[in-house]
Amino acid sequence: MSVANPANEAPQDGATVQRPPAEVRYADELARLRDTDTGERPPGWALSLTAARRFIVGDPSAGVSRKFVGDPSLIDRALVSLATSRGLMLVGEPGTAKSLLSELLAAAVSGDSTLTVQGGAATTEDQIKYSWNYALLVAEGPNQRSLVRAPLLRGMAEGKVVRFEEITRCPLEVQDCMLSPLSDRVLAIPELTGPDAMVFARDGFNVIATANTRDRGVNEMSAALKRRFNFETVFPIADFDTELALVEAEAGALLRRSGVTAAPRRDVLEVLVTTFRELRTGQSARGDTMERLSAVMSTAEAVSVAHAVGLRGWFLRREAGTAEDLVSCLAGTAAKDNSDDLAKLRRYLEQQLTWRGGAQWKALHAARHQLPG
């Protein structure tokens, strides 16, 4: 999740790009870091390790914004993994900004975050390695012109970082096509002959994969593939104030975009963020342990609930959202279609609110009956 909100730029064909890639959004900062970079660059890298680190964790003295909220040591480990011969696997709950981190890392290391494979049940090897332009293939046979390069092939040939999003959503056999590029650093194209038949990875090539811990067991990774990655777990934001500030900023921006002029109320957001954090960690502020919800209670979800609360309040009553709106919106996020989660949420609203002071907590408790079901 982005802390800074850079203005959109780089209009193409008169229209504004909704979300330009990180290397475009932060082009100034990257250029500044590149110009002042005195550190030694690993072979094929656009920046030195220290400059890449400053790009992500921020360096106010150089006018570089902090782009990722999390332990700085995580960034160190991720960058060092990318400089070694192992790939980097970012795992964690959904909504913990794994994809953003992978984008920032790729932009810092290669200056290009667009070599991306989106994993899914329908992902095939073609979309990862290469495929053919069939008209040219029929006309000219297999050659460099008829070859359509997919991200992995391009990353290897150009010496860039390839991003593989949601790798565990791919079938196991598709995942395994990453094995030889990662260990032997070579990709064979048997249809071509001569030197074109083997693409050797150039310096700077590596892979950042992301995987969702909620998908564990759906498509478990093979041990062979696991061994070729260094695992880094990305955790939800540990600090309450940081998370609250982030939710406030992001939800405020979303609401403004939706035409709501009332800013979200801070006391309602505090209740919301506390609720999310307690249901996520399974521990109340008083120290009681509870079962965690099986639904995702990420910061991103908190932002979307805060957005929904604001919309409800504004379009129903022309005011900022209240704790009652929160109850209605929580059901959709926290419980979804899972009756167990709904029961857990109800139990939380019934038993874990009464001992707290604060008007919004009381309002939330009073509104608990609005929970559907």
Binding site: L49, T50, R53, V57, G58, D71, P72, S73, L74, D76, R77, L79, V80, S81, A83, T84, R86, V91, G92, A211, T213, R216, A223, K226, R227, F229, N230, F231, E232, T233, F235, A238, S284, R286, G287, D288, T289, M290, E291, S339, D340, A343, K344, R347, E350, Q351, Q352, T354
Partner: protein, 810 residues
């Protein structure tokens, strides 16, 4: 006259080295060290040549509070090095801080915990500036790993920044003023010779400020005397790396003592190698995989991380990060502990746990043989002598006599401290059983002295030490162990528990996951709190706090049990009974809100996903509570609900179930309002019960449901013949197959009635069918020919023998 102030972080090898170098270079007249001034007469004891770590333990007791605190020393403690080097350089070495019992230090268990942790905001800002995870990483980055050039200036700059304009607590201000008096006196005494002052870096700026300019000789300050009526003292005890480690203990200073020991002895490069060796050795010992290629990857990552972070050699976190990256091939459930600080959390990856343990080390200190024995040894000897419990013997103690109780407590305290040679053969096991005497085997065990010296770290008297040991046990206990620990506390006569222990108790109860175990805890503690005049725990405040917490937690857990088809569990039902008893017997005295449990129980009773036994019990709870406050006019029971043959629910007012109404009359008073709020679903009284019984009538679950009901609301059922009628109709209406399904659980349910009440039920059933006579006949099966029974038994034995022979039965 020059005074050199060295601000240190406690347990920092870099600071220790600076202290040693400074003292060697200056050869000062006085070395002043932050530490308990009441130890000054006995500094010699510290110089005897102990195996480190050791600690100065200070105990204190007066009418209001009781505390114990430690000032631990290891080889790389700057304070320790100052003592040793100062002595070697011929300086006069003194401690200059207030004694540990002073109110300024009252809440501290470890004198050498980081002061800046109390002022966390500045530290957070610094960590953000240097982009490191926490203060430990920051410290290594700034001071432990870089070369020592200009260390003193860097430390001074760091602590000046840290102290800055931060307002400090009154306690710290008082300590600083006291330390400044020692420094002024030493400076005046030293004349032209140098003075070295070694204190926590956080205090350094203030001490410089306070001692600047003032040169007049004010004389040495007095060591504060213990307040009137208070008992206390300081003495040396062995300590351990485990207790020193911030990942394990409370209020500790730096983490990973074994790593810093290596750093102190051999420098960063060797410490790094040693660390990797220790981790891999440990992992392989535990059959965890750590291949050569993993190690290569770990070293490469550690070197890379050191490079990124600008370290000349890989530091502690570089290596740990490198190892974690190479050895952990899964998603983590908990963040890496060195990124967060504090104690290890449950769910930490096992490889990470081993890594942390390897860095912690297992060193245990040992005192030099000529160290004066800790007072506990003398106290224990004197107590045993006085009570005539020396030598090998077997004693029987009557707990009802003062004499017996006093001796029993003495023996239990020794047992709790794990002093060998004191074994109890017989005695009360819980507060519930009516056992009034104890048998003990006492032997003069060869390890008694050693064990007493070790236990000396817990306190100066057996009473104190046992209380401290129990406090430690409570801190680590789960709910099942908690009941034992509390009972042990009762046996030891430890009625007062400190605020910290109460918080630990609260946390342990708040983390309980098993309703049955929690119910047992609640039942035991409630009994101790209500009745126990023998051990003197009746009405004790800590137990009251436990009851409050356990009741709250039991309600939380009760509402979370899922599974409409899971079988009955007596422990779960008993937990509801315990909650009910709590409300009846302790509700008013502990100020528990009667509405909260009632609402929870109503929700559980109505929850189709809850197990039937729990629903039945919850229904019984609500019924009993309603009955207790019911007024025939307002219960809302239609007239037909009140059976002419039985007493109406109104007769039950004042008590619930088998509660003793005299104990806490009317405690559930006020629930009436809730009854109204509950809506039509909770139509109270017999009518509601009839409907509920009909609703629970599925053959597979009716027995479990009734078991819950009978356990909690036996009396109500007996006095509501209409409920029995409905039940009778339901059972009579079952087909044979259904009846066979329902039978085992029904049997179990009716065991909640004692025989006399079962007879009442049977009599009612007979009367319903127009058959006269006592119900006893119905309960007693017709006599069977004993020969037949013998034949059946023989047949069973033969079948068993065959099955066992063929290996079909274990």
């Amino acid at each position: 006259m020059t005074t050199t102030f060295i601000g240190v972080r406690h347990h920092s090898p870099a600071c220790a080295r600076l202290v040693a170098d400074t003292i060697r270079a200056l050869r000062p007249a006085h070395v002043l060290v932050e530490g308990p001034a009441d130890m000054n007469d006995r500094v010699g004891e510290l110089l005897l040549g102990h195996d480190l770590p050791v600690a100065v333990f200070s105990s204190y007791r007066d009418d209001d509070r009781q505390s114990g605190s430690w000032a631990p020393f290891c080889a790389y403690s700057p304070e320790w090095v100052a003592l040793q080097e100062g002595h070697r350089a011929g300086a006069r070495v003194r401690f200059i801080d207030l004694p540990s019992w002073d109110p300024a230090l009252a809440e501290r268990q470890n004198r050498y915990a980081d002061a800046e942790q109390r002022y966390a905001e500045v530290v957070d800002r610094l960590c953000a500036t240097f982009a490191v995870d926490n203060v430990d990483a920051l410290w290594d980055h700034l001071f432990e790993i870089p070369p020592a050039d200009g260390l003193a200036e860097r430390l001074a700059a760091y602590f000046d920044l840290l102290r800055g304009e931060t307002p400090v607590s009154d306690g710290d201000t008082g300590r600083e003023a006291y330390m400044a008096r020692w420094i002024r006196a030493a400076a005046a005494d030293a004349g032209e010779r140098p003075v070295v002052v070694v204190t926590g870096g956080f205090h350094r700026p203030a001490l410089i400020r306070l001692t600047a300019g003032a040169a007049e000789d004010v004389g040495w300050p007095d060591v504060p005397a213990l307040p009137e009526g208070a008992v206390g003292g300081s003495y040396l005890v062995p300590y351990s790396f485990r207790r020193l480690d911030a990942f394990d203990g409370y209020q500790s200073g730096m983490p990973s003592p074994e790593y810093y020991q290596q750093l102190w002895e051999n420098g960063p490069r060797h410490a790094a190698d040693q660390l990797v060796t220790a981790v891999v050795g440990r992992l392989r010992d535990r059959k965890q995989q750590a291949s050569t290629s993993d190690l290569i990857a770990a070293s490469a990552s550690a070197a890379g991380l050191a490079l990124v972070r600008g370290h000349q050699h890989p530091g502690r976190t570089d290596i740990l990060d490198g190892l974690a990256g190479a050895l952990v091939h899964d998603a983590l459930d908990e963040p890496l502990p060195w990124a967060t600080r504090g104690r290890l959390r449950a769910g930490t990856h096992p490889v990470v746990v081993e890594m942390v343990a390897a860095l912690s080390g297992s060193r245990v200190g040992r005192l030099h043989p000529s160290t004066p024995l800790p007072p506990l040894v003398h106290d224990a000897d004197a107590d045993l002598e006085r009570e005539g419990l020396n030598g090998d013997r077997t004693v029987t103690l009557a707990l009802t006599t003062d004499d017996g109780l006093r001796r029993s407590r003495l023996l239990h305290r020794l047992r709790v401290l794990r002093i060998p040679g004191f074994t109890r053969r017989h005695g009360p096991r819980t507060g519930v059983d009516p056992v009034l005497d104890e048998h003990w085997d006492i032997t003069d065990h060869e390890h008694r002295l050693v064990a007493l010296i070790e236990a000396g770290a817990y306190g100066a008297t057996l009473e104190e030490a046992a209380a401290a040991a129990l406090a430690e046990r409570i801190r680590d206990a789960d709910v099942a162990a908690l009941a034992d620990a509390l009972f042990d506390a009762a046996l030891c006569g430890t009625v007062r528990l400190s605020g910290q222990v109460l918080r630990d108790l609260d946390a342990a109860v708040g983390g309980a996951a098993d309703l049955g175990a929690l119910g047992r805890l609640l039942a035991v503690v409630l009994t101790l709190w209500r009745h126990d005049r023998l051990l003197g725990t009746a009405g004790s405040e800590p137990l009251g706090a436990v009851i409050t917490a356990a009741q709250r937690r039991a309600l939380w857990l009760a509402e979370g049990v899922r599974g409409a088809t899971i079988p009955a569990e007596p422990a779960r039902i008993d937990a509801v009974v315990a909650v009910r008893d709590t409300m009846v017997h302790a509700g008013r005295r502990l100020g528990l809100d009667p509405l909260i449990p009632l609402e929870v129980m109503r929700r559980v009773a109505a929850d189709v996903d809850a197990p039937p036994d729990l629903r039945g019990a919850a229904f019984g709870f609500a019924w009993a509570a309603d009955a207790a406050t019911a007024d025939p006019e307002t219960t809302g029971s239609p007239p037909d609900a009140v059976d002419a043959g039985g007493a109406g629910p109104a007769d039950e007012a004042g008590g619930i179930g088998n509660a003793d109404p005299a104990d806490d009359p009317g405690v559930v008073g006020g629930v009436e309002a809730a009854g109204g709020a509950g809506g039509v679903d909770h139509a109270g009284g017999v009518h509601g019960a009839v409907r509920a019984v009909r609703g629970a009538a599925a053959p597979a679950t009716v027995g479990d449901w009734l078991a819950g009901l009978f356990a909690v609301a036996r009396e109500e059922v007996l006095h509501a013949p209409r409920v029995l009628d409905v039940l009778d109709d339901l059972v009579s209406g079952m087909g044979e197959a259904e009846f066979l399904i329902a039978l085992p659980a029904l049997r179990q349910a009716f065991t909640y009635f004692p025989p006399r009440e079962r007879e009442t039920v049977a009599g009612h059933l007979l009367a319903r069918r127009g058959i006269g006579g006592p119900g006893r006949a119905l309960l007693r099966p017709p006599a069977v020919d004993p020969v037949l029974i013998a034949a059946a038994k023989e047949l069973e034995a033969r079948v068993d023998a065959v099955l066992i022979r063929e290996g079909l039965l274990a």
